[in-house]
Symmetry: C2
Subunit: 258 residues, 2 copies
């Protein structure tokens, strides 16, 4: 029997989050797993890393037994410290999730779940992020089974350097899932609103809320696919260069005349 | 005389940071400026936004006069709340900086300075981030003059939707600046180290440190250009899709057989 792959499991909802435990349990039969996850919820931390404060690490137990490391830091911190300091050996894959709530469209850039998979890709380890597109009454079982199917193929085929997968699963019964769509990141914008309130001490504060303007419905867009009950798989990288604008920019006076 | 453009100025080093004030003073003659910046230092927060806590805003004064809004939040929060709640009208540009320390290579994705310019681009406003490549004895004067030259050309020419500029300025006397290079984001990786220590109460903690492995020296890479005393201008966008891998992924069994 071939040796089981060794996984670093991470999330941004925190080490006690049901989505992480569902992912762990879905993969435990086919992989050896090291969990390194934030001690508390870290949603919308984006691709933050902790450099001005020290990181603290505690063992986390489930049913009295060792389950993994709880890091007082961000998802990206977890992957870095797991890889460089805690695991003692190189993981075969980094899997991040299962996130409570979709990470599609512009949310991709705010997502701690995605940033953890980015860190995996930076380290040259095959990686994917997986999110369930709901905030209420989550049933992670199909997403867990999907991760279990995806992992062996990911390990067998590999990915180009710097590329990882961002997977978003519709929150519907498996019988209503229509298939798997290869997608691009949606670019629909939000109309944000700041709800201005006054606290009991008379001070003003604001809550951010927002609504998507003209949601995209095409099946080759992550948002559209998930909304249409397709599992959306987006290949993502972290090279932000806009290559097709390089030549135009060379003609700007500030470049050419200095 | 044409009306002065209206700028939203932001940074990640905080509203009291000298780099922000240098940028303000460099642009004050040619633009009307609204400063909306983090109340305290927010480096390496990446593209975080604050959704689980309310945002608080205070007026910040310099020499007793109104200077801008100090937001207890991230750089991205500042641009969002400035645009949607504080300014009352649409800015003609978002300018982020001057950051203390370069934001090149992989640091682009961890940078709060860059994330603020990203928010500007998301809002469809011409935007750039500007950083000075040193952490010690910064002299922001040349970077300020560069921003002052760049802004009018940016406003005149505009940028494609979703694109902004990431500018990195070498920390050398102007006489040693060799010119302006159009660059791509460097992809050099880091070898991270976690310095493990014990606090006075006997508890373990870790400090992240890291060193670039094989720094890139090519002049068409941000890192290489800045190191070679060129101002590096990288066109950046926030669509993370790896387009050239979409077709390959469609052949994976998990996609084609489900």
């Amino acid at each position: 029997m071939p040796k089981k792959p060794f996984l670093l499991l991470v999330n941004d909802d925190g080490i006690a989050a049901p989505g992480l435990h569902a992912l762990h349990d879905a993969l435990a039969e086919i992989a050896e797993i090291a969990v390194v996850a934030p001690a508390s919820e870290m949603s919308a931390v984006g691709h933050a890393i902790t450099i001005s404060d020290p990181l603290r690490v505690a063992e986390f137990r489930r049913e009295g037994a060792f389950f993994g490391y709880a890091v007082r830091g961000t998802p990206a911190d977890c992957v870095k410290i797991g890889y460089w300091a805690l695991l003692g050996r190189r993981p075969d894959a980094v899997v991040s999730g299962i996130n409570l709530g979709g990470n599609t469209g512009i949310n991709t850039i705010y997502s701690g779940t995605v940033s953890a998979a980015t860190e995996g890709a930076i380290l040259g380890v095959p990686s994917f992020a997986i999110s369930l597109n709901t905030y209420r009454n989550p049933d992670f079982s199909f997403a867990g089974r999907f991760a279990r199917k995806l992992l062996p193929e990911l390990l067998e085929r590999g990915l180009p350097p710097g590329v990882f997968l961002n997977v978003n699963v519709p929150a519907v019964p498996e019988s209503e899932i229509r298939g798997v769509a290869v997608t691009r990141q949606g670019m629909a914008i939000y109309r944000e609103e700041f709800d201005k309130r006054t606290d009991p001490h008379g001070r003003t504060y604001y809550w951010l809320t927002g609504q998507k303007v003209r949601p995209e419905t095409e099946l080759d867009v992550d948002d559209g696919a998930v909304t249409g009950n397709w599992v959306a798989v987006t290949p993502v990288h972290y090279d932000l260069t806009r290559y097709d604008f390089l030549e135009t920019l060379k003609d700007w006076s500030i470049v050419s005349s200095m």
